[in-house]
């Protein structure tokens, strides 16, 4: 696994530990499943961990989750590598996931992807040198009628145009500067 520490969003080495509030949440999530079936909480916990520890799942982060659930690290790795929302490599502060499947393609997703590529000077799967943006082509995200679209964090940006992409990138760049 390539580890590019400079892309991490935090300064200096980060301690891998949830806050007390998060640990309470962990217990609440585990309690949703029958006793002894705490492994069911794995995907919810990986979401929490990824959101908390820099937007991707480094091996020590996965080990920590394994510890919390009393399961083997390998059980976490095999799950983390199966699901496309889990990043096992560092990503930029803003992950732009543009859908390119059929229905979006019919409405111009290819042009949007090309435009983002040339605007940011990166290829699919790459991160800008300042660590701000990663472009990741995605498969159907359930917004086909509102195409072209992208996922950004917990939300969708729909009916994309070049102008909207410009505005979004300026907005995010400004936000990151503060």
């Amino acid at each position: 696994m390539t580890v590019l520490r400079h892309l991490r969003n935090t300064k200096g080495p980060m301690s891998i530990k949830f806050s007390q509030e998060q640990l309470n949440k962990v217990q609440e999530v585990i309690a949703r499943y029958p006793e002894g079936k705490q492994k069911s909480a794995l995907i919810p916990l990986l979401h929490m961990a990824q959101d908390t520890f820099g937007g991707w799942l480094d091996a020590p982060v996965m080990d920590y989750v394994a510890e919390l659930l009393h399961i083997l690290p390998i059980e976490v790795y095999e799950v983390a590598t199966f699901y496309s929302m889990f990043n096992t490599k560092p990503v930029g502060k803003y992950l732009l996931e543009v859908c390119r499947t059929g229905p979006c393609m019919l409405n111009g997703s290819d042009e949007i992807i090309e435009y983002i590529k040339s605007k940011l000077g990166i290829n699919e799967g790459e991160t800008t040198p300042d660590g701000l943006f990663t472009l990741k082509p995605a498969e159907c995200l359930g917004a086909c009628g509102y195409a072209p679209m992208m996922q950004l964090g917990n939300n969708f940006r729909e009916h994309l145009t070049k102008e909207k992409v410009d505005a979004l990138i300026s907005e995010l760049t400004a936000k990151a500067g503060n």
Binding site: R32, P34, K37, K39, S40, A41, L42, I43, P44, L46, H47, L69, I71, E75, E78, V79, F82, Y83, S84, M85, F86, R100, T101, G102, P103, M105, L106, N107, E139, C140, L141, G142, A143, C144, G145, Y146, A147, Q151, G153, N154, N155, F156
Partner: protein, 449 residues
């Protein structure tokens, strides 16, 4: 006729007060006065068929649920919705979360599920919040928790967010994922109704199926069955995308024609920019594409209607399927090769990798289609594609293999000359999409409502 979305535009309907004021949760009051068997009976009488894609009768599925003494049972709502073209469940959950919760409470009661899970695709993060809010509201108002309405029935509903895997929509993969594992489908039998999540008897149903339980209980199964035609009872949600004037989610009662659905201003509103219709994939990316000249009439020459039977009339030779209701429309300028290539890439990306025909075959199909699309194909590649898809279909653990094979097969069956044109005109096919008129709808549409 609308049974699910009729209140979708009422201000504040997403929240409990407005929902309750407009008749919400009445089906729970009614159901709790009925025996659980009587509820299953009503669902059987309604003729409701699963809205997740396969169209299996819901009442029958419920009656298969094993009920061994002392073993908990679970209802799991399939909100994984990842079939390209499909976004109807999202609409329902986003705007009418309480309708789903209401349906889940009645269904949980009927099936004896004290802990019910909504497995939602990971990308619908904000909908997870909407659902959790609705669940909290329902609980505050006594519709969830212990001893609901003094019935002695306890029920909790939990939202479980996935993390991006189409295959987790397949019910046994969903169960594996809910157990915190990779989404590898299980071999059946045992069926989930006998051994599902945590080896307990489990029913998995689609969001729309479970929402439809509400009107079924409110109006009675027999009344519900009167809506629609034949074995296509009740209403169906369709999500429309691609080249139409009004993409979005529509509820229909399955008695309108395909032509009306596409051209009427009440629904899709026709094709933008005065273009003609080239082809349509009416039930999500897995179902066969149909060229316009076969779309409006069945093999028997009858008007093709928007229902299960009529859409599949003629088999795969001239028909298609209702599927998940993801209605994809291609105008005359769209390239079928390119569209099919994106679907092949999708299935290759989403194959779980357990069976060789699917794992390898989807990759080969994608590569070959990419070559043809990029002007590097050979004529023999078309036969090779046909051969590969034929060897995947029916030879895999789960139906994803078939779902990957059918779009390729249908594209070659109906648009072979378009593939050939790509091979024979490699340079031109790079410069423009291939829109040839003879597939397109031959008549300008007049006189359609």
């Amino acid at each position: 006729m609308k049974l699910l979305l009729q209140n979708a535009h009422i201000e504040g309907i997403r929240f409990y007060d407005a929902y309750r004021k407009n008749g919400g949760y009445q089906s729970v009051e009614k159901a709790f006065k009925m025996s659980t068997d009587a509820i299953v009976e009503e669902v059987k009488k309604s003729g409701l068929r699963g809205r997740g894609g396969a169209g299996f009768p819901t009442g029958m599925k419920w009656s298969f649920l094993a009920k061994p003494e002392g073993v908990p049972r679970h209802l799991v709502c399939n909100a994984d919705e990842s079939e390209p073209g499909t976004f109807k469940d999202r609409y329902l959950m986003e705007f009418l979360p309480h309708l789903l919760i209401e349906g889940l409470i009645v269904s949980s009661y009927a099936l004896g599920s004290n802990a019910t899970y909504i497995y939602i695709r990971g990308e619908y993060a904000w909908i997870t919040d909407i659902l959790e809010h609705a669940i909290a509201e329902a609980k505050q108002n006594g519709w969830l928790g212990k001893n609901i309405l003094g019935s002695g029935f306890d029920c909790e509903i939990y939202v479980h967010r996935g993390a991006g895997a189409y295959i987790c929509g397949e019910e046994t993969a969903l169960i594996e994922s809910l157990e915190g594992k990779r989404g590898n489908p299980r071999l059946k039998p045992p069926f989930p109704a006998i051994q599902g999540v945590w080896m307990r008897p489990t029913v998995v149903n689609n969001v729309e199926t479970l929402a439809a339980i509400v009107p079924i209980i409110n109006m009675g199964g027999e009344e519900y069955a009167k809506i629609g035609v034949g074995r296509s009872t009740g209403t169906k949600l369709l999500s429309v995308c691609g080249n139409v004037n009004k993409p979005g989610v529509y509820e229909i009662d399955m008695t309108i024609s395909v032509e009306e659905f596409i051209y009427s201003d009440k629904y899709c509103g026709g094709i933008p920019n005065g273009k003609r219709l080239k082809a349509c994939i009416p039930g999500g990316s897995s179902v066969p594409i149909v060229p316009a000249n076969l779309l409006f009439k069945t093999a028997k020459g009858e008007t093709r209607m928007m229902n299960y039977e009529s859409l599949s009339d003629g088999g795969f030779a001239t028909g298609t399927m209702m599927g998940s209701g993801g209605f994809i429309v291609l105008d005359e300028d769209q390239c079928v090769v390119r569209h099919t290539m994106t679907l092949a890439r999708f299935y290759n990306h989403e194959s779980c990798g357990q069976c060789s025909p699917c794992r390898e075959g989807t990759g080969w199909m994608y590569k070959i289609l990419k070559n043809i699309e990029n002007g590097q194909g050979k004529l023999s590649d078309i036969d090779l594609l046909w051969d590969i898809q034929r060897r995947i279909e029916g030879n895999t653990i789960c139906p994803l293999g078939d779902a990957a094979a059918w779009p390729v097969a249908a594209a070659i069956r109906h648009f072979r000359d378009e593939f050939e044109w790509h091979v024979l005109n490699p340079e031109e096919s790079q410069r423009r999409n291939y829109g040839i008129a003879h597939y397109a709808d031959p008549l300008p549409m007049v006189g359609v409502v």
